[in-house]
Symmetry: C2
Subunit: 198 residues, 2 copies
């Protein structure tokens, strides 16, 4: 399988980086081809310029990320919870690449106000987040917005059927023991989600 | 009053720009001082580099936007609904400026996992959004995530007590008549929200 890993955190020493490394190791162990994108490291430009009423204008067919997404079998996205949302650099990746003709299509007669046809129905999406908000407060006070955004707003819309998301919290006062357990979980979840192919 | 207007849309011909112009006109009519930021036009850099476990590292005291926010009495934020979230450029403004010591403080004994003290309790916040999702579908299918993000996740956290948000939809198939009515509403709402000072 071809799997794209999208990571958005400024610090190489972050737990997000540790998660991404662990996920990559699990993918490679299962024989998958990994496309690794540390968006900060790559200096990814998050600004979408071409947007019309229908949404993002698709990047050109020769765009490497567009080509990669078209042929990928799965995505792993790793980022911290900043204000119930991904960091701007990850949001910009969504703005620019989860675009019409890459991730969804409108029926010919639709001007963009209707329900689209998802083009990601064969892709599996796995998301790992970190947070400093305790789980109960995140759910009860904020309604777990990252679940709403990634699942309902974005990937349901693109036709994704196999979706899993896990938020690790709270990072700021976690013990070494806890973090080791979380990384073990990342490894197992990733391995099960993207199993070895026969 | 000192009011900052934050606008995030790539096209000068957008309805978002029309909304922002109308809001500025209403503010000026009421004698307020306006700080206008078309983030695309300014080439705003949305990338937050300095983030520790507690969140964004505050920009230096000499940073002009930080100084402006410290002395502002209100904010008007204008952007389209892109995936239930603001565009990356607006998210980056949040990442960089809604930071510790600018917008909130943690009590000394707190490492960042707790509930902060909001520093925006005297500011009024008005948000205008545009969307191509019909209102009912936005509420029922997606749960109106922009309301959750701006009100519950961000400005409640910073102590804002006077908050109003209005989403205009659907833009893509609106009539000229409808858009004129919406701009009239922007003018009235802004005028009432930031009234003439005695």
């Amino acid at each position: 399988m071809n799997i794209s890993v999208i990571l958005g955190h400024p610090s190489l020493q972050s737990f997000n980086h540790a998660i991404a490394r662990e996920a990559v190791a699990a993918l490679q162990e299962n024989g998958h081809r990994v496309f690794y994108h540390d968006l900060y490291e790559e200096g990814f430009d998050p600004i979408l310029w071409g947007a019309d009423a229908k949404g993002a204008v698709a990047p050109p067919g020769s765009d490497p990320m567009r080509q990669e997404l078209t042929m990928s079998d799965g995505l792993i996205i790793v980022h911290p919870n900043w204000w119930g949302q991904p960091p701007a650099i990850v949001k910009g990746w969504v703005d620019r690449y989860i675009s019409e003709r890459v991730a969804y299509l409108f029926p010919d007669e639709d001007e963009g106000g209707g329900v689209p046809i998802g083009l990601f129905s064969d892709k599996r999406v796995l998301i790992f987040n970190t947070s400093n908000t305790p789980k109960q407060r995140e759910k009860e006070v904020f309604g777990d917005p990252l679940q709403i955004l990634w699942k309902h707003c974005i990937f349901d819309y693109c036709g994704v059927k196999t979706f899993h998301r896990r938020m690790f919290s709270t990072i700021v006062n976690s013990t070494l023991e806890e973090r080791r357990g979380w990384l073990q979980e990342v490894r197992e979840t990733t391995g099960q989600f993207f199993p070895k192919q026969a």
